[in-house]
Structure formats: C-alpha cells, structure tokens
C-alpha cells in the first residue's frame, strides 16, 4: 500500500525531462495564483496600449505650429497633412519623386549615353533669415540619365548619375544605390554615363573617356512597360544645416536647393518614337518645383530641385510619424513587467518559500531556468498583445490626422515581435537581478534605471549627440532600436535622431541593439546562477 503511493513519485524525479516539466508547471502555478502579479501584467498591457493610443491622438497636428501660435485644438490639422502625403515607391515605402526631367519615350530595348561636364548649384546662404542663396551643392545633389516606367511619381526607375560629394552612382527604385567612379565632375574631368534597357533589365555603365567602360550595376525592374520615359534629369535635395542642439536634440534648418548640370554627346540607340525632347517637372506638388532646361546644339543645360529617394521621418518637419510612436507605452509596460519579474523571485526570499522550492528541486540552476522561462514567456505574450494592439489601433487613430509612414508587414512584424522580445528579456534581466540582490526594491530600481534612464538621457536630455550615441550603444536601452520603423538610408541626408515623433533612429541596427540587451541579460543570469549556487538560502 505504501509502496504504491511512493513509486509513482520517484520516476517523476529521476527522469530529467519530466522533472523539468514539473518544475515549469510549479513555477507557472506560483505565477498564476498570485493575483497581484496577474493584475500587474494586465496593467502592463493596458498602460502600453493606452499611452500608445494617447500618443497617436496627441500627435494630431501641429501643421501651423511654425507661426508659434498653435492655438487651435487638435483637430485643426486634418486637411494639411493629407495634401503633403508623399507618393509610394515600388517597394511600398514613402518616397520623394520630384525632379526636372528632359525626356523622350523609348519603345522596347535601347540605350542612352551622355557626357556630363559640370554640376553646379545654389544653396541657401547661411547668414540672416535664409532668404538669399549662394553657389554651392548639397552632398546628394544629383544629375544624369534615367529610365522610368512613367512620369507618375513613385513609378519604377533606374538612373545613372553624378553627385556632388558621392561620385557616380547607379540608383534604382528609390532604395537601390550602387557606387561607381568616385570624384567630382569638372570640365576637365567629365563623366560618361550609359543606361541600357533589355526587357526588364537595365544596366548602368560609367567611363571617364568613353573608351573604357565599367559596368556599375544591373537591376531588374519588374513590370516595366514596353514604352518607358528616358532622358536627362536633375534633382537637388533640401539643404539641411544641423545645429548641435543641447537641451532639445538636433535642430535643422531645412530649405530648398537646386543644381544645374551640363550634358553633351547625347546619343541614343533603339526606337525613340517622339524624336523631340520634352522638359517638365515631375512631382512638383511635393518638391519645390524649381527647374528648367536649355538646349543649344548638342549641349543640354538642365536645372532641377527635389529628390528621387526615400522619404524619412522628420525630413518634412514633424507632421509625419511612424508606428514607433504608438509604442511609446513600452516604457510604462516595461516598468510594470520589471516589478512583477523581480518580485517573482524576491518574494520567495521574503516569505521563505525559496527553501521549500530548493528542497523540492535541489538543482538550483534548473529552478532559475524554469522561473526565467515562465516569466519570460508571460512577459512575451503580454508584450506581443500590447504591441500588436497599439500598432493596429494607433495606426487607425492617427490616420486622417497625420501622415503615418507606410511600412512593410515584415517590418511591422519585426517591430511588434521585437518589442515583445524586449519586454521578455527585460523581465528575465529583472529576475536575474532580483536573484542576485534578493531585494525587490533594489532590483526594480536598478533594472528600470539601466533600461529607461539611458533612453531618457540619450533622447530627451542635455547630452550632446556624440555622448547620447554612446549611451544608446552600450546600455540595455540600445534594444529600443528594434522599434525603428524606417531604415536609415545612406543616400538621404536627414536628421536621424532617436527621439522625436517619427525618429526611432538608434546608433545600432534593430537586432544588434536588441542583442546588447540580451548580452546584459545573459551576464546577469550567469551571475545570478553563480550566486544562487554558492549562497545559502
């Protein structure tokens, strides 16, 4: 009789897998039956969602805020935001597609070759109110040849161009960017550019002397129509002067600029049915609309402004935002989760339950692992629910009030899952610190301070940009990079800053930043393990 009751217990302890499953179940039961912890997690989800939606509503419009008097209530900005919504490129991203285009239709396969002999321009003069202009170029002022599916802004294209500071480039579909010959173009050191179309494939070449050609790149523009628009273009992105802001991040002066390129030796092959050149400004609604061209003999002088490139948040001046904004509640949710996770272990010490736990399961590492898995999973689910809801409902709330940058579903998935993972790893970190210190107040303070305070110091405070970069690179706060919505493009000059309504640009790449937090958590867990094994309970 007695043997009958004892024997079923032994196999459970001896076989490792069963033992661990039981341990997990025990920890899960501990978590589930403490009402305060469950409430804490519900609170985490609610504040995460609530603050996100608050931010979505609160961003509604400062359209007229430049005048200094933003008197009107939040609703005043409905009209002005939709007018400036940028076109969408073939990849689904918001783009700027405004430039001066001297074009002819090209039917079927063919090619165009030109020589560029100069690239000059005008930028705003630095003194005074910025009304005047002075000669000069912005780094990404560009001019060259382009083959484009249509004159519709946002349509597919491939282009070979000379730039002010970045040499010859081949760019396609707004995000593609390949470097060709370096150096600036001058009368004595001209550049030859060639684009060849063969079906959907466009190949770009450059040369210094028209004898030795080098292939810069090949791109496939899917769905390119039979007849495309091809010709010369000039574009010059807005001039941005960044003043090192101390106390409010970076401040930028944004003003239009323009550039002028001189082309000659224009030669074409293939079928060009029109026979004459047409010059017009593409996408003038969004750009500044400066442009024109002059043809004398074989020589074309083309002036343009605007840019053919992705648009990034903050470039247009803050009437736009990304889904990152809706996740501002992550900070509040994190605090609640950290409190619960730290208490998950410290309460055992305070109540003495840890002795029972370790008597039942003497292998201490497994206890910590079970605890970490339970609290990590619970925090992950809470973070996932809250982040997904915040992104979905926040986008719906904000749309129509302000421009919300489109992002691909993959990016959205990365942001939501990444946020949930961030919450989960923070919970494990809190558990580990709690195990080390055994005191909830100290553990909670330390974990909140190492995750939230660096973000605050790096984004909102008085630290200069270089110091802030450094802080956001090495502290656990680097993990918020996982919420970055729009990539940082090397071919777009903008104020890439971590803060603000649409930024979310961190010094590290999304998953690299997340890895920093994981590294800290791993160190903490290792230390906790060592201390848990060595110390008496």
């Amino acid at each position: 009789m007695t043997a009958g009751t004892v024997t079923p217990y032994r196999p459970g302890q001896q076989t490792g897998r069963d033992g661990f499953a039981q341990l997990l179940r025990a920890e899960w039961t501990k978590f589930r039956t403490v009402r305060g912890w469950v409430i804490g997690l519900v609170v985490a989800v609610l504040v995460m969602l609530g603050l996100g939606l608050f931010a979505a509503v609160g961003t509604s419009s400062s359209c007229q805020s430049t005048s200094g008097e933003s008197g009107g209530p939040a609703r005043s900005g409905q009209g002005c935001s939709t007018a400036s919504a940028p076109p969408v490129g073939p990849g689904g991203e918001a783009v700027s597609d405004s430039f001066y285009f001297v074009r002819q239709p090209l039917s079927g396969n063919g090619s165009i070759t030109v020589r560029v002999t100069s690239l000059t321009g005008l930028i705003p003069s630095r003194n005074g109110a910025g009304t005047g202009t002075q000669p000069g170029l912005v780094p990404w002022a560009k001019a060259g040849i382009i083959i484009k599916a249509s004159t519709q802004p946002g349509s597919a294209y491939a282009a070979m161009m000379v730039t002010a500071d970045h040499g010859v480039r081949m760019q396609d579909n707004f995000t593609g960017d390949t470097a060709g010959q370096p150096g600036t173009v001058t009368e004595s050191d001209p550049r030859w550019l060639r684009l060849t179309r063969s079906g959907d494939t466009i190949t770009g070449y450059d040369s210094a002397d028209a004898l030795h050609w080098a292939q810069v790149g090949t791109v496939h523009l899917t769905g390119l129509p039979l007849t495309v628009q091809a010709g010369l273009f000039a574009a010059s992105p807005a001039y941005i002067a960044v003043t090192q802001g101390l106390g409010g991040g970076q401040n930028g002066i944004i003003a239009p600029s323009q550039d002028t390129a001189v082309f000659d030796h224009v030669s074409r092959s293939g079928t060009w049915p029109a026979g004459t050149w047409t010059g017009d400004y593409i996408g003038a609604d969004y750009g500044s609309g400066i442009g024109g061209y002059h043809q004398a003999g074989g020589r074309f002088t083309v002036t343009g402004s605007g840019d053919i490139a992705p648009v990034v948040p903050g470039q247009a001046g803050g009437e736009d935002l990304t889904v990152t904004t809706f996740l501002v509640g992550t900070f509040a949710g994190l605090i609640a989760v950290i409190v619960v996770a730290a208490m998950f272990i410290t309460v055992e010490y305070r109540r003495g339950l840890i002795r029972t736990t370790l008597i039942v399961s003497p292998r201490r590492g497994r206890v910590l692992a079970a605890k970490a898995i339970v609290i990590g999973s619970v925090a992950f689910v809470a973070g996932l629910v809250a982040a997904a809801a915040a992104v979905i409902f926040g986008t719906q709330l904000a749309r129509g009030r302000v421009y919300v940058f489109p992002v691909s579903w993959l990016t959205e998935l990365r942001i939501v899952v990444g946020t949930a993972a961030l919450v989960a790893v923070a919970a494990v970190l809190a558990l580990a610190v709690g195990t080390m210190l055994r005191r909830s107040a100290a553990a909670v303070t330390i974990v909140i301070v190492v995750i939230v305070l660096p973000y605050l110091l790096g984004v909102v405070s008085v630290l200069p940009a270089s110091a802030a970069d450094w802080v956001l690179r090495i502290t656990p706060a680097a993990a918020f990079a996982v919420q970055q919505a729009i990539p940082q493009y090397s071919q777009v000059t903008a104020l890439y800053s971590p803060g603000g309504s649409g930024g979310g640009y961190f010094p590290l790449a999304p998953w690299a930043g997340f890895a920093v937090l994981c590294g800290w958590a791993a160190i903490a867990v290792a230390l906790a393990l060592v201390l848990l094994r060595r110390r008496d309970v």
Binding site: G36, G40, L51, F54, A55, G58, T59, S60, S61, S62, S65, S70, A74, Q244, G245, L246, G247, G318, E319, L321, T325, V328, F331, A332, I335, A336, I338, V339, A342, M343, T346, R350, V402, R439, S440, A441, A442, A443, V444, T445, I448, V449, V452, L453, Y455, L456, L457, V459, V460, S461, V462, L463, P464, S466, A467, W470, G499, G500, S501
Partner: protein, 288 residues
C-alpha cells in the same frame, strides 16, 4: 540557585519603572516619534550606503555629462553649464526614491510597522516624523551631491573651453541663477523623497512603490517627447513631476522653459503633498 534571585528582582524593577514612567511623561509626542524614527534610520545600515551611492552616482553622472560636452571652436553652443553639471540628479533621484520607499515598506515587510504603531498609535505623527527625518537626511546628502556636481562641472567644463574667454560664464554659486539651480536641485531631491514616501505608504510593497515612483518621474518626459502636438507637449511637461521640477536647473534660455523654475518646483511639491496625503489617509484608515 543564586542566579535567579538577583536576576528576577533587579531588572524587573527597572523595566517596570521605565515602562511606567516614559509614556506618562511624553504621551507619543512628535519629539519622541522623531527620535524613534531617527534611531530606526540611523541603525539601518542600508540607508547610509544608499545615500552614499546617491551622492556618488549623482556626481559621477554629472561629471560624465560634463566630460561629454564639448563645443567646436568658432561656434557658439547653447550650453547650460549648470544643467549639464546637474544631470546626475536624473539618476540620483532614483536612489533617493529607493531610500524613501524602503523607509516605510521595510517596516511592512518585516512586520515592524505593528510595533511602531502600537508604540505610537497616532499614525499621522508617525508619518510626519518619518517625512521629517527623511527630508533632513536627503537634504544633507543632496547638498553634498549638488556641491560635488557643481564643483566637478566647473572643473571639467572650464577644461573643455567653456571659459569666460570664450563667452561662457564660469559655474559659480555667486551667480543667483546657478545658486537657484543648485539649491533647487537639493529641494527637488527632498521632494522626490517625500513623493516616494507617500506612494510607498499608500501601496506598502517596496517593488510596486518604486515602480510607481520611477514611472511617474520618467514617463512624462518620454511621452512628452513623442507627442507631436506642441500644446500637449507643453502641458505634459508642465504637469510631470520630473519635467516641471527640473525646470529649476535652467540658468539660460529661461523663456523656452515649459514652466518657470519655482512654479515647476511647486508642481513637484503638489505631487509630493498629494502622495503624502493619500499615504496618510490610507495609513489612518487601513489596518496595519
């Protein structure tokens, strides 16, 4: 045989004499409460270490912020030397909050609160005594931390070219605005301590209390930074205990502040008063 007799007679007499005499002479007055709280605080090792840590961290972060601040020559940077030097308060306040939370929640977690309230049944007096002892300690530690930060900031910033020769005033307590920033920061820490004490009295559990306090402090600036509407942004900064309270640290560009320095400290004081009121009410109405 020999032992029990003296042991029974002598101590019993003195103990009974003491217990009888003391409560009659001073029926749980504020002075006794203060003395009791001071003894409890004094004999808890962690308080001293935490206050030391608060001082060290405040000065260290302030010095690091000053060391990270530089200005390319030929450009006039809008640097507020006092604010940069006192950046450490952002971190120091977390430790101060912890000291304040532990002052009450430790009593709950060890059950000491029952003894305290049996000895001194007037609960508001107990809370007042705790608040007074805590404020005194934090004011003392805060003064050291702020003086250290200002000194470090002065030395480091002048080494980085922020000297009168380049058009920057040397950080000095002679200047009324710098004095305001320094004294205000000390008061800020004391008010954060009172806010934390109030919250901790209301919720009792140290982890929950510190979570609430740090959330109240840190969330306002983060959310305000994301909210694009200038109106809302300003309002959030005006009502946040940290954003409003730290307005006291500004010495330059005062017109761009969301709230004037002393009014900002007043907002924090209102938060602290509300928290203490809530804590006091809960303490009176609830069983210990």
């Amino acid at each position: 045989m020999r032992l029990p007799v003296p042991a029974n007679t002598v101590p019993t007499d003195t103990v009974s004499a003491n217990t009888r005499a003391a409560p009659r002479r001073h029926p749980f007055g504020l002075a006794e409460a203060l003395h009791a709280e001071w003894t409890k605080t004094r004999t808890t090792a962690s308080t001293g270490w935490l206050l030391l840590a608060a001082i060290a961290l405040t000065v260290a972060v302030g010095a690091a912020a000053a060391a990270g601040t530089s200005c390319p020559s030929g450009v006039v940077c809008q640097v507020d030397p006092a604010k940069v030097s006192l950046t450490g308060i952002d971190l120091g306040q977390a430790v101060v909050a912890m000291v304040a939370v532990l002052a009450i929640s430790n009593e709950y977690s060890t059950g000491m609160i029952r003894i305290t309230l049996s000895a001194m049944p007037r609960r508001t007096v107990v809370l007042a005594a705790k608040a007074a002892v805590l404020s005194g300690l934090v004011l003392a530690a805060g003064t050291i931390a702020v003086l250290g930060s200002v000194l470090a900031g002065r030395l480091i910033l002048s080494g980085h070219g922020f000297t009168p020769a380049h058009g920057y005033e040397l950080l000095s307590l002679d200047s009324p605005t710098v004095l305001r920033a320094a004294a205000g920061s000390v008061l800020y820490l004391a008010l954060v301590a009172l806010l934390s004490l109030g919250v901790a009295t209301a919720v009792r559990d140290s982890a929950v209390a510190i979570g609430i306090v740090l959330g109240l402090l840190y969330l306002f600036p983060i959310v305000a930074n994301v909210v694009g509407n200038a109106h809302w942004h300003r309002h959030l900064e005006q009502i946040g205990p940290m954003t409003a309270g730290l307005a006291i640290q500004a010495t330059t560009d005062l017109t761009s502040l969301p709230i004037s320095p002393w009014a900002g400290l007043g907002v924090l004081a209102a938060w602290a008063a509300a928290a203490l009121l809530a804590g006091g009410l809960v303490l009176r109405l609830r069983d210990a």
